[in-house]
Symmetry: D2
Subunit: 398 residues, 4 copies
């Protein structure tokens, strides 16, 4: 199909040329004497992306799912109790993994469109005076519903209860895009993948681990080799990896980290809010609703837009792809057919989002949702024109 594909799924995201070029290189000896000169600064600077000074960051050839596995296999034992909540596809899948690994999952089922039920967590933790709960799992940004949860709130619930459980966070679609503060929030394990806010090809799982969580490796009984922190630590200390690392992707990661730090994480976060808010203005102008229930849940990396009852959102997604070369996301499992998703994370600018909004308008109209042509675009345009770049206050353009 002529012209380029317009990629607005919530990951993989649009890869900047700098990262693409960085990945495009010949292979090399991962045991070369000077390889550590590349590895060590990379692992060090990755900590800044997670905002941790005391934690360690590990990079696996893998994906976010592999990162989840690393998080639990290195810290827990069969039968350990974990507290979690389900409000979308990805929070659900992590629970499924916990069950497969023989953990005792205490799961709170929420409406899809809600976030982590912080108050319920608080009650449960307070009630767990024997500290049977070993870990609390939080999906920071539920990619399936466009909901961002309150990680700091969960930390507060743990602290208020004086509860020692580990705090594990799925930050796959939040880290490097939405404000995330590992140390400040007392996060013990944070997981992301390369193809989201890091703007890279899929293929790396990046996991940050607190010292407290690292200590758990001595007692955790779940089997692990590929995703073992222990092996990574031993080799990383020398600037190497326990098995062959994906060097072409590591160079992309180096460039991604450089780009994020050059722009400044605060600016990255502000930019994500800005482009996202434009999409929300468009949704409002269309007379449609987000899946996320309340403004404080709105995700700055993906907007899940509910369609009218009689419409199958999968049809819109398929049509957008085939007719306009526009890739947007559909609804998964529980919300299948009910919503479509516009990803707005990674290397995005305003005009890119106007493309997505334009295409969504055409696809919706073609599929029977008679939004006013250009209405969403106009609303987003006026917002984008008004807001100052660098401005972080949500109220700014309002």
């Amino acid at each position: 199909m002529p012209g380029y594909n317009h990629l607005f799924i919530p990951g993989p995201t649009n890869m900047p040329e700098r990262i693409r070029r960085a990945c495009d290189r010949g292979l090399q000896d991962m045991r070369a004497p000077d390889f550590p000169e590349f590895v060590r600064p990379l692992l060090r600077d990755l900590k800044r992306i997670f905002k941790t000074e005391t934690g360690e960051v590990f990079v696996f050839n893998g994906s976010g799912t592999g990162g989840w596995e690393a998080a639990i296999a290195n810290t827990l034992s069969p039968g350990d109790k974990v507290l979690t909540s389900v409000f979308g596809q990805f929070s659900m899948l992590w629970v499924d993994m916990c069950q497969r690994f023989g953990l005792d999952v205490q799961q709170i089922d929420c409406t899809w469109g809600e976030g982590v039920p912080v108050e319920q967590y608080a009650e449960i933790l307070k009630a767990d005076t024997r500290h049977e709960i070993k870990a609390v799992l939080v999906c920071h940004n539920e990619t399936a519903t466009g909901v961002t949860s309150d990680v700091a709130g969960v930390r507060k619930a743990l602290d208020d209860a004086g509860h020692p459980a580990l705090l594990m966070v799925d930050g796959v679609s939040s880290i490097a895009s939405i404000d995330f503060q590992m140390d400040a929030w007392g996060v013990d394990v944070a997981v992301t993948g390369s193809q989201k806010g890091l703007m890279m090809p899929t293929g790396l799982a990046v996991v940050a681990v607190s010292q407290r969580a690292l200590e758990m490796r001595h007692t955790a009984q779940l089997p692990r080799t590929y995703f073992a922190f222990e092996d990574q630590m031993r080799f990383n200390a020398q600037g190497f990896f326990p098995y062959t690392p994906a060097t072409t992707l590591l160079y992309g990661l180096r460039e991604a980290v450089d780009m994020l730090l050059e722009e400044g994480l605060e600016n990255v976060v502000a930019r994500h809010h800005r482009v996202a808010e434009g999409v929300r203005r468009a949704v409002h102008a269309w007379g449609l609703e987000l899946c996320a229930r309340r403004p404080e849940l709105y995700s700055d990396t993906v907007s899940a837009i509910l369609v009218p009852e009689h419409i199958d959102s999968a049809e819109i997604v398929r049509h957008a792809y085939q007719r306009y070369n526009l890739s947007i996301g559909g609804g998964l499992t529980k919300v299948k057919g009910r919503l479509f998703r516009i990803g707005h994370l990674g290397d995005m600018n305003e005009l890119m989002l106007l493309t997505a909004i334009s295409g969504a308008e055409m696809a919706m109209r073609d599929c029977g949702i008679m939004v006013e042509p250009g209405s969403g675009v106009a609303a987003a345009q006026e917002y984008y024109r008004g807001v100052e770049i660098g401005q972080t206050d949500r109220a700014a353009a309002e």
Copy 2:
């Protein structure tokens, strides 16, 4: 600046990944025994792009300007009379070159916004019974004003006058985008560059030459070496080049030719018309005018949009680039400050143009042209939604 640059100048154009990948290769021996197996089919298939069976195609490391030089230096002698017309920056520059080469230029000055004055050409040619005019120069698509001229009409004028002058065409921003028929129109030299309809990096001049024009090399007295057809012919016949060719670009050219032939030239032309018409609908919805004076002059590769008297279009272009990472073209020399240009040639699809239209709307409003937000987008959207892909009738969506 985060996010990608939105490139809507009338060349260089958006390079498809296939072409980009094709260019990305190591260097090679341009005298290798198997190099001709690559060169010969390439030169052969290029003829199909020009729609010539009897002509020859030459590829120079160069640009469109170099192609112009090749056209005149290989066919004309100092003092030779050439008939030409000026109605924009590029038709003007070709005249300047002719004068530098000591040709006797008969130049018709037209309003910028008009095309080749076919009737005046017809009269002059009819009057030139001694056939002093050796060549007639036509700028097929004036990139500066968005005007497409009637090459077939000029051929008819020559034929009606029984005039033997060579017909030379600047097809830099038309060939491979707008209908061009070298043999059917009796074109003697046709010039293009790699960075326009061929969707490639800048760096190649591609020139098609009729047998009649080739014969002129025996008598043409203008000096030439670098751009000499004679040398190219001698080496091309063996599958080589007279000096080191830009092999990385030649591989891009191979891919470009393949892509164009796969899509089908008729479909390419129809697609250019389709995306262009959307832009024109937007311009109409904005209440603005094109520089091109009449619908039959409207270019399907670039639209030059006049701004209100009190506005400096250069400001819009600069602002669009700096604020929205949108590259559009400005007005050149005579129309400096008076218009901005949206290029819509090469590897374009509808949604890409909606991006350009969106960005132009914001930039215009920021600079004081108070078009209705989303109005151009809406008009283009509705046109794009209505027209069938592959449909070539202008009336289709109306």
Copy 3:
């Protein structure tokens, strides 16, 4: 350092331009309607690389180590007995993984330089009349010592004993380089990585599984999610993956498979033998010995060359890298300092190996092994000159 790095480690290998280009692309929607049109033929054609018609092939974002984990986690339960042997770093590491996963490992320790002890396996299997051994593990090509083992022999041992144990093969440094026949040899799980014979960047684990082994997933009790066959099967059947696949690498894999099938697997195997034999001639000319004990154990993908007692081979490897930009492999654990390794797998031709031999000669002399200058090169040259390309008979050039 000026000039390119000369990469002769036994993986990652030299990436052909075609594969590099194939990987160099923008990201895309892994749930797009047409993605299965890419995935299905790829999975189908991968079977040909493993020479299996009845098995299934799975592709994970990972590495060979991850492939090992997939092999055991999907087929075995804690406490299951596995028969294995250790004769080098990689056979040793797989045993370590088995132990971490709580398997009951019956391990035969062999001299490093020997291969799988087929006769001992035969005896043990014959004696195991209660079929307590659930799986037999074979390291087809021990990368650390340059030894290729007799997989067909192990199959015969199993058959002769009428033993139902699964036959699992680490083919990381053999598959796509050395003759490997999954169906003919009755292999149940075969594991490789992308950065060896597949000539790709590191980042993919590729695992082929027999129907019999697949059935084990219903009873196998080891926990698994990331590497679960079950999930892959369910999604692959639709042409998708259970989590985000590394699409840029998958396109490289497509190209790798195409290249291998174009050359023809028989020719690939013959070529590997040919380039390897040249290296062995050089070693002989130097008056040195291979770590591999007997010609029938000689690996066609890597040669491990023993250095004289008083020399530290690590010094040679380091010096070669720093002085000549030559990457060769060193000795690992038990053979640390005792040998250096020249990898000759993947996209190799004769002249490339002469480079490695030349560089090794200089590095050895610089480090005190006074081989005759040019002696290894001369021996390899004369072999390469004499042997016919395509000739597979070892005796050919002798």
Copy 4:
């Protein structure tokens, strides 16, 4: 053919990854407001490559041949007398161009294998008291014969004669590889192409011009547009180009300049001498002779090696390519069949040259020149081992 091609022609040369990556980018607006921020420092730093502070450097989409045309068309008029000498293919072709441009060429024919006849130049210049000679042409490094001439000697001849003729130098295969000092040697026009010492793809002509030569544009009567200095100067002053520049190549040029300056031009020159000397040691060991007549003429960028009378060198070149994937150069015109050439310029290290020597040995033996196997390799190895990197004294390893 499996494995990579071994490229040892005297240009195009082996492109370093850094340059290749730099070229691999999307297209961009060459009139963007920030484009000058890229162009100006590039043009400034190019001066350092030519070692000129007072001259100007121009970059054309073109090739070395185009650079020659620029040199004469901007400075001379029809009928102007130029002094030149012919001792190889490229010195010959430049004379041919001069003749086509109507210059009055005083040509000294030398034996191929000799360089510029400085003494004859001196006599002629001294005798030309009326200063009819307007320019003296020097081919600094004759690529066809591997001869480097004495440019400084020619400057001295001009100075001794008090002669005002312009000194024009073809530095295509010398600049950025062999010592070249524009200001110190009083060179007026120096020409190179991108695909030689600049290690880039073919496609750019780079021309440095003294202020004195620039002034000639006011009186020079040869026609020019594409290669006009005047237009370049006017646009370059603003940070732009008179027509669309080959931006992808310009980014490669930026990287090339950075690489050369990082290594240091003195080190680049010393490295070229070092790798070249190894080749000469091999030639000596083979019992063969260079085409270059005396050591002081030996080129550090290409060695032209004479073959025995009864051998056709073209056969060796063809065979090396087809059998060993080795690209070396053949003999051109007068020396056709008499020599083969090993290019050793650009991004070269010692081990790369050993590859070329190895391959040449095999190809020669296959074609009937019975050099001792490994003899050239051994001689070069021992030289390379002995010489210190950074050492520039020819005597060093002797």
